[in-house]
């Protein structure tokens, strides 16, 4: 037989939109050579809900419930990012009490979001049990939120200029209890998953994201920190009252493999949970008295102008670009979702790995499709 009739071709494998480990409705078009990945083409947009178009038809307070639904695992942080953006645009100064409560909520939300990230990462790798432990602890945080604002997932809690409710009288006590309860659980998670040999083998040296690539791709959040850069907007571009708290920025150290591999991305999140606990602990003791509705404007009508405001979401830098034409509706609202940007690096870091590694890499980027597609 002539050699030219012997044709080998790459296997095209469609992963998703309905696939057990695509973290939502994401479709990955894989070009495989055997089980080796030649190319990954993410197709997104299955969860596109026209947030930006909607926002143009809403008044500023009405946009808040919509921001909840972007990164639905970190609604509080989205609310916070949006509220801060509009406040900066309008020049509102919120009361101290509000700032403290916001920080506590945002940090608890960070823990909750990371718990989902870590738990589902376990499932991606094949360990099912840590997932349920993580969800068990996340439920406790959600209960705290529910007690405060009545909703477990989509809070509409942090408003422009204030909060929808003051905290519940029991909130401080229960939060302290939670912090006490949660510290040993991190140790347990580490024992069960983080330092498990199989888990390390699966994640160390997989999907290495070098620092310069990470910056060039605009990757932010735990992914960027795992690549070795001490970069956290809470410290580097402080918003709210984060400059008052004492906490560290965990970075990837390549402890089990190379700096910027999947294990580092995973472990940075574990360490961030501890740091968030520290912030919550410091903040919960200092909440001053005050009225949370004091600075809420009767009519949110920012002056003509625009702003790009960013906050550190659990998944990375959440930016709101708002153009106001001086009316009660935003003229243009663009959201720079961290997941959207972090996902775009997937092809770069998964080339040459196996299909099974792709799952590990995708899990370690921790995307939420609600935010990718908006």
């Amino acid at each position: 037989m002539e050699t030219k009739t012997l044709k080998t071709e790459e296997l095209i494998l469609n992963m998703g939109p309905q696939h057990p480990s695509t973290h939502g409705v994401l479709r990955l078009e894989l070009e495989l050579e055997g089980e080796l990945i030649v190319n990954v083409k993410p197709h997104i947009g299955y969860l596109h809900r026209c947030f930006e178009k909607h926002a143009e038809a809403m008044t500023y307070p009405q946009v808040v419930p919509y921001t909840d639904r972007m990164d639905y695992l970190a609604s509080m942080s989205n609310n916070l990012g949006y509220a801060i953006a509009v406040e900066r645009l309008m020049g509102i100064k919120v009361p101290e009490r509000v700032e403290y409560i916001r920080v506590i909520m945002a940090e608890l939300q960070r823990i909750a979001s990371h718990l989902v990230a870590l738990g589902t990462y376990g499932v991606d790798i094949g360990a099912f049990t840590p997932f349920l432990y993580c969800f068990r602890d996340r439920e406790k945080i959600l209960s705290l939120f529910e007690m405060t604002c009545g909703a477990r997932l989509l809070y509409n809690y942090i408003w422009v200029g204030g909060l929808s409710h003051d905290i519940h009288p029991d909130f401080v006590r229960l939060t302290k209890e939670f912090v006490e309860y949660f510290r040993p659980k991190i140790v347990e998670l580490n024992e069960l998953l983080s330092f498990n040999k199989i888990f390390i083998e699966r994640t160390a040296n997989i999907g290495i994201l070098p620092l310069d690539t990470a910056i060039n791709y605009g990757v932010t959040g735990p992914m960027l920190r795992a690549s070795g850069l001490k970069w956290d907007l809470r410290k580097n571009d402080p918003y709210s009252i984060y400059d008052r708290f004492d906490f560290d920025i965990p970075v990837g150290e390549g402890e089990k493999g190379t700096v910027g591999d999947s294990w580092d991305r995973y472990f940075v999140r574990v360490q961030e949970m501890e740091q968030s606990l520290r912030i919550v602990e410091q903040a919960i003791d200092q909440i001053p008295e005050g009225n949370v509705h004091e600075a809420v404007p009767k009519r949110v009508k920012p002056p003509k102008g625009s702003i790009y405001s960013r906050v550190e979401n659990p998944k990375g830098e959440l930016g709101f670009f708002i153009i106001s034409d001086g009316s009660v509706n935003p003229f243009r609202m663009k959201v720079r979702g961290p997941s959207f940007v972090n996902l775009s690096v997937l092809n770069e870091i998964s080339k040459g790995h196996l299909v099974a590694d792709l799952i590990a890499i995708l899990g370690s980027t921790d995307i939420v499709l609600g935010e990718v597609d908006r």
């Binding site: 997104i44 947009g45 596109h48 026209c50 930006e52 178009k53 900066r88 645009l89 020049g91 690539t213 910056i215 060039n216 791709y217 605009g218 990757v219 850069l229 970069w231 580097n236 002056p303 003509k304 102008g305 625009s306 702003i307 790009y308 960013r310 830098e317 930016g319 670009f321 153009i323 003229f331 243009r332 663009k334 720079r336 959207f340 940007v341 996902l343 775009s344 690096v345 770069e348 597609d373 908006r374």
Partner: protein, 176 residues
């Protein structure tokens, strides 16, 4: 740390007429307006210059300025001055910690902007999104496809202010 005004001066010296102006009447952010076909050169300079080092593109957003003007000329005919689409670039230097914003404006009829994908890879998806939502064409972009909307969406670019929802998409009713 450099202020946007200083950066504007620097760019003005370097690129002269490719830098169109500096918008600063806005309350929070200010913009350096750049010629859409020179944005790539300017970006490269901004990234590589030792004083500037803008290594990170935080956000790239398309905007429909909705500034279409209808005027009547002397003979009473309606003259339509087409609106513009703008692209906003928010840059940030991780090393030096300063920020600057760029803006380019193009006519709706001929919305061609030079792609900055080769400068900051993050612009890849952002530009695709701007193309998808506004129809801004990024020249020399390697893979300019729709990203959020279906690839066979024929009703135009949804975030334009004059966008109308289609009645049907592939035989399915769109409004519910």
């Amino acid at each position: 740390m450099m202020k946007p005004e200083e950066i504007f001066e620097l760019l003005k010296q370097k690129f002269d007429d490719k830098i169109i102006g500096f918008e600063n009447e806005l309350p929070v952010d200010s913009y350096i307006v750049v010629n859409p076909l020179a944005i790539k050169e300017v970006s490269k300079f901004l990234r590589d210059n030792e004083q500037l080092k803008f290594d990170s593109l935080m956000c790239l957003s398309g905007v429909d300025d909705a500034n279409e003007k209808k005027t009547k000329d002397e003979e009473g005919n309606e003259v339509i001055e087409k609106g513009t689409l703008s692209v906003y670039y928010h840059l940030h230097s991780i090393e030096l910690g300063h920020k600057v914003n760029l803006k380019v404006s193009v006519s709706v009829d001929n919305p061609n902007v030079e792609s900055v994908e080769s400068i900051w890879r993050t612009a890849d998806w952002h530009e695709r999104e701007a193309y998808d939502m506004f129809g801004i064409v990024f020249l020399n972009h390697p893979d300019l496809r729709r990203i959020l909307m279906p690839e066979d969406w024929e009703a135009g670019h949804p975030l334009r202010k004059d966008y109308k929802n289609p009645e049907f998409y592939n035989g399915m009713r769109v409004p519910y």
